[in-house]
Amino acid sequence: MRPLLHDGPTLDPRDRGGPLQPLLVARDLRKHFPVKGSGGKSVKAVDGVSFAVRKGETLGVVGESGCGKSTLARLLLHLVVPDAGELRFDGDLVGTHDLPVDTLRRQVQIVFQDSYSSLNPRMPIRDSVAFGPFVQGKKKRQARDIGCEMLSKVGLDPDLFGPRYPHELSGGQKQRVNIARALATEPRMVILDEPVSALDKSIEAQVLNLLRTLKRQFDLTYLFISHDLNVVRYLSDRVLVMYLGRVVEIGPIDAVFERPLHPYTRALLASRPSMDPARRIGEAPISGDPPNPIDPPSGCHFHTRCPFAEIPCDKTDPALGIWEYPQSHVVACHMYDRASGHSRLAYV
């Protein structure tokens, strides 16, 4: 077990490609859920998503409800099997002999949004947390000890909270238990699917700080999914914006938040409520309802609500730019593609 408190980044013994190799690379992930009785139509939850997560960073994922964020989270752990596309973890292809799914699950863990249903109501907390290590081969006593240690790491006294049941804990406490549970198996990466969305604001702050601390302590990589832009800004190094199953923009957090490129990102950021009375806007930054994921618009999915939509926008899918440098800021929009024929060519 590697030391828990340290001064600088240590190379994890499971590391395979060195600090420059992305920890997780998703290429063209696709997941369509067939709709019963509609004659072959399907909900295109994730429709060709590609991105990379670097070691030690926090990648935020934002988007409206229904854009496919949660499905993406489950795809990354193969809790839902992708229809197409490939997933590489530290260079190895997931699902093959090099990296079977079980091994992946030892290195990647997930924290769900609903803290209550994430815990077995009939199991005491310490058993819930110890379940992961137990399943992965540790003996019961050892697993229990790991569980108790993890509970204290998240700020819950294991003697006080260990034998308790989920219904005796508050939302914030339960979510901390979920975090402890995720960390008990010593993963290298944690996927956080809206972990603070259901919590009160004050508790939210505590949990976010806890996540930051733990990330430093355990040398983790985070994929942080949220619909709350401020939370994402607080925690992330880079951010990925999703719309209707596709990636529309990826870039460093400050760059995306201060100079958003994609019209959707701009609308999203503009719609944040502000305490500043001077900052008023006359009309809503974005209009209309998100289209049906069963029947997404052709071409660029956003063109029906985009104020800059033109002829090429409903014909061809815009491609996400090539991500070359860690600081690259790429966008999937015809306005930034010289070859698209869009009249408004904007420049980064």
Partner: protein, 324 residues
């Protein structure tokens, strides 16, 4: 679906609800760079699910009273050889159909001169056996099928549940009578018939509960931890399914007793001269003009046993319906 002999099953499901608010315990924890100010902790002692159930039961006077009666009935049946004043098979030509209190027979005699009290006590053994055993076996088989179907989902589940639906298409009494009748009667066939009648509802209860559990996040979390299917079932599913299954099974016991004695009443269950309450009721029927109250006794025994089992089962359900 409920029909004649089925009791409304409790909402088979996982209990969940609001977290309890406890006394605010201002506490600062420094170190680890993590500072948490107030950890709200419930002021009560830790009590697990089963402890809560027992606590509730202990304080439920009515249920305890009826459970005591059931216990008495069971003890009466178990210790029948010691308690019975006469041999239940000993006939007497001259002492037939005698009323209460005739010559040391506190409950009279039947149509062959046998002592009613003794026959009732021994009859209890058969009736209780035929009440409990089919439910037990049906719970095991039906429960297993339900968990398998519920967890596997998809085609397997459809196949299992559709097969169960075919048996559900028969009214319970009809199915029991048909199977027992076709097989020729007798105690074993009767128990077999009842077991087959109870498997579909048990399967359905288990399947509903399993399907509900399966949809909850902690199952996915367990899968994400790397657990295999059997491990997940053992540690996460069974604990949550056992509750509803047990409650439903306990409510079936009274139904089973009624059905079993019904079968014997029709001549499809236990065969004479074995004492059984339903059979006794049937043979005594002709004699109601002679000693009506003696003839009604076996039915009274069935009624009391059945209603007490029913009430105990209701009490259990109330105790186990812990809003967690």
């Amino acid at each position: 679906m409920t029909d004649y002999f089925s009791v409304i099953p409790a909402k088979a499901g996982i209990q969940g609800g609001e977290p309890s608010k406890g006394a605010l315990d201002p506490r600062f924890r420094a170190g680890d760079d993590v500072i948490f100010e107030a950890q709200a902790l419930p002021a009560t002692r830790v009590r697990g699910y089963w402890q809560t159930v027992f606590y509730r039961l202990r304080h439920d006077a009515m249920t305890l009273a009826f459970a005591a009666i059931v216990l008495l009935i069971i003890l009466g049946a178990v210790f029948a050889p010691l308690l019975a004043p006469f041999d239940p098979y000993k006939e007497s030509i001259v002492g037939r159909l005698k009323p209460f209190g005739w010559h040391d027979h506190p409950l009279g005699t039947d149509e062959l001169g046998r002592d009613m009290l003794s026959r009732l006590l021994f009859g209890g053994r058969v009736s209780l056996l035929m009440g409990v055993v089919p439910v037990l076996i049906a719970s095991l088989i039906g429960g297993m099928l339900g968990v398998i179907g519920g967890f596997a989902g998809g085609r397997t589940n459809t196949a299992i549940m559709r097969t169960m639906d075919v048996f559900y298409a028969f009214p319970s009494v009809l199915l029991a009578v048909a199977i027992a009748g076709a097989m020729g009667g007798g105690m074993a066939n009767g128990m077999l018939a009842l077991t087959l009648v109870f498997i579909p509802p048990m399967c359905r209860v288990a399947e509903t509960a399993t399907t509900q559990v399966r949809a909850l996040d902690f199952i996915e979390a367990a899968r994400a931890s790397g657990a295999r299917t059997l491990t997940i079932i053992r540690y996460h599913v069974l604990g949550n399914v056992l509750g509803p299954v047990f409650i439903y099974a306990s409510s079936l016991v009274s139904v089973s007793i009624l059905l079993a004695s019904g079968l014997s009443f029709l001549g499809l269950g236990v065969r004479p001269p074995l004492p059984d309450w339903g059979l006794m009721l049937s043979t005594l029927r002709q004699s109601i003009y002679v000693v009506p109250f003696v003839c009604a006794l076996p039915g009274l025994a069935i009624f009391i046993t059945s209603i007490c089992c029913n009430l105990v089962s209701d009490g259990l359900r109330a105790a186990m319906d812990v809003r967690m």
